[in-house]
């Protein structure tokens, strides 16, 4: 699901797709960072922080997850020694000014996205554009996967996906082990997990089908557990099937 990159002409942007051989931020002890900070003027560090904030906003606008390697190459450059401090301050600024959070969605490869801190509202007046239809469809797919027990065979999803180029991070596409010929399955990706929640998706499905979310007991429990783990709103955890979904047993429903 690679994004088609437009050539941006001369300049550092060319190298962005290169392998992560530049991703060598040294592990930084606090003392080491402190000493490096003292050598640089506050203005210089502030400047880098400000550039990083702009960079993150610009990159996130395109909904492409941001690699640490690119951050180091395009923004940090000679200030690698205080990388951890710069990114910490940039994250703080993003929260304080924009109400957004820098979230690492891949701890191994160090990939980041920006997520809004503010509670999502229904019918919020965000811009409706060509992307809105895609997002709507994406929500349907996410719902589908969730209702199918968090994964669905490629063949089941393919009809829906044929014309859709999904932005990276929303869906995971993995091979099912021990299958021959090899089969693949879709699961929620890291960005999807961050930007929405199982409870929100369940409510969405419930709304479409005009049912109570608790009618799907397995999914409801799973969504409630996720909410509790995240420290979200407290939900009453009623016993499965007591709010009138037709199937009382805790079996997965066909959807």
């Amino acid at each position: 699901m690679a994004q088609k990159r437009r050539s941006k002409g001369p300049g550092p942007a060319q190298g962005e797709d290169a392998a992560a051989d530049e991703d060598s931020a040294p592990t930084q002890g606090a003392g080491q960072v402190q000493r490096s900070l003292e050598r640089l003027s506050p203005a210089q560090v502030d400047q880098k922080v400000s550039e990083l904030v702009q960079y993150l906003l610009v990159k996130d606008q395109k909904k492409i997850p941001i690699k640490r390697a690119d951050i180091l190459k395009n923004v940090i450059k000679d200030y690698k020694s205080v990388y951890s401090e710069i990114i910490k301050r940039a994250g703080r600024n993003l929260q304080q000014v924009f109400g957004m959070q820098l979230v690492e969605i891949d701890a191994k490869n160090h990939i980041y996205i920006l997520v809004s801190n503010l509670p999502r509202l229904e019918g919020e007046n965000l811009k409706q554009d060509d992307c809105t239809a895609k997002l709507g469809l994406l929500t349907v797919i996410l719902s589908f996967l969730f209702m199918k027990g968090n994964a669905a065979k490629e063949s089941a999803v393919w009809e829906m996906l044929r014309r859709l180029r999904v932005d990276p991070g929303y869906l995971e596409y993995n091979r099912i082990p021990h299958t021959d010929p090899p089969e693949f399955e879709f699961q929620w990706g890291a960005r999807a997990a961050r930007e929405t929640s199982k409870m929100q998706i369940l409510r969405f499905v419930a709304k479409i089908q005009s049912k109570d979310p608790k009618a799907w007991s397995t999914q409801y429990n799973e969504a409630a557990a996720e909410e509790a783990a995240v420290g979200g709103l407290s939900q009453d955890t009623s016993t499965p099937g007591d709010t009138g979904g037709p199937s009382q047993g805790a079996r997965r429903r066909n959807w």
Binding site: R6, K8, E51, Y55, V58, N93, Q96, V97, E124, D129
Partner: protein
């Protein structure tokens, strides 16, 4: 007056970022909603103060919420603009180097023209010249395909974002409105003394005057005065023409 950012301010900023540009009444509604949701002090006529708080915090990032007027309808618009062109902001562009070059040339043509428009024919010629120099044939064709027949001018958002740049780069070649003193891409011009006015500004200034006179030299104002306060008012023009906007190369689409 509080100068702290609240979630109300942040929400306003996020929504404005996603729109890029927003008409005044929409912005006022958004202001009210944001304050309501996050229980922030709200006064309906204090939108500009509210925005100033945000702008103070946006300064380190060379961004600003700017207020401007549309040259078409005279309405107020708010837009989030970049104040500096840096290595970083250049990465924001969705366009190729050649497309940007064409945009710059088009902007040139619009600004130096008498009436603030560049015709599609004109732009095709510019693309052609670029084609000879560097644009690949396929690229040029793409541009030409998307270009519909008509007259092109700069979108409100472009003018708002690039006003500083245009004023400093084109200096005496551009006009400022005699009434509001902002950059005027399209204007009505006094044929005697050469001062110019935005069409909506002229409409307001000359409203209901039977015999309009130039505020500078007092000569009779020879142009048709645009009507204001009517949503379907026709703008005075020589020949009938379509109008399309050209959006800024620095446009942010969120």
């Amino acid at each position: 007056m509080a100068t702290q950012m609240t979630d109300g301010h942040r929400r306003f900023l996020q929504v404005l970022m996603s729109h890029g540009i927003m008409e005044g009444s929409v912005a006022r509604t958004l202001h009210r909603d944001c304050c309501e949701i996050h229980k922030v002090y709200y006064a309906h006529d204090k939108l500009d103060d509210f925005i100033n708080v945000v702008n103070i915090h946006l300064q380190p990032f060379f961004m600003q919420i700017r207020k401007g007027m549309s040259e078409d309808d005279g309405k107020t618009y708010y837009a989030l603009v970049n104040l500096a062109e840096t290595e970083i902001t250049k990465m924001a562009s969705d366009y190729t180097e050649n497309e940007l070059e064409l945009f710059r040339k088009t902007m040139d043509a619009i600004i130096v023209s008498e009436n603030g428009f560049a015709s599609s024919t004109n732009i095709l010629n510019l693309a052609d010249q670029l084609k000879i120099k560097k644009m690949k044939k396929k690229e040029a064709e793409q541009v030409l395909q998307n270009l519909r027949d008509g007259e092109y001018t700069l979108h409100t958002r472009c003018i708002m974002e690039m006003e500083q740049y245009i004023l400093s780069n084109y200096q005496d070649l551009v006009r400022k409105c005699n009434i509001c003193h902002s950059l005027a891409i399209q204007s009505q011009v006094c044929e005697t003394c050469g001062i110019g006015m935005h069409l909506p500004c002229a409409g307001k200034y000359f409203k209901a005057q039977m015999e309009p006179h130039c505020p500078h030299c007092n000569e009779f104002w020879p142009h048709e005065i645009p009507e204001i306060n009517r949503p379907d008012s026709q703008l005075p023009s020589g020949a009938p023409r379509e109008r399309r906007g050209t959006s800024s190369s620095g446009t942010r689409r969120r």
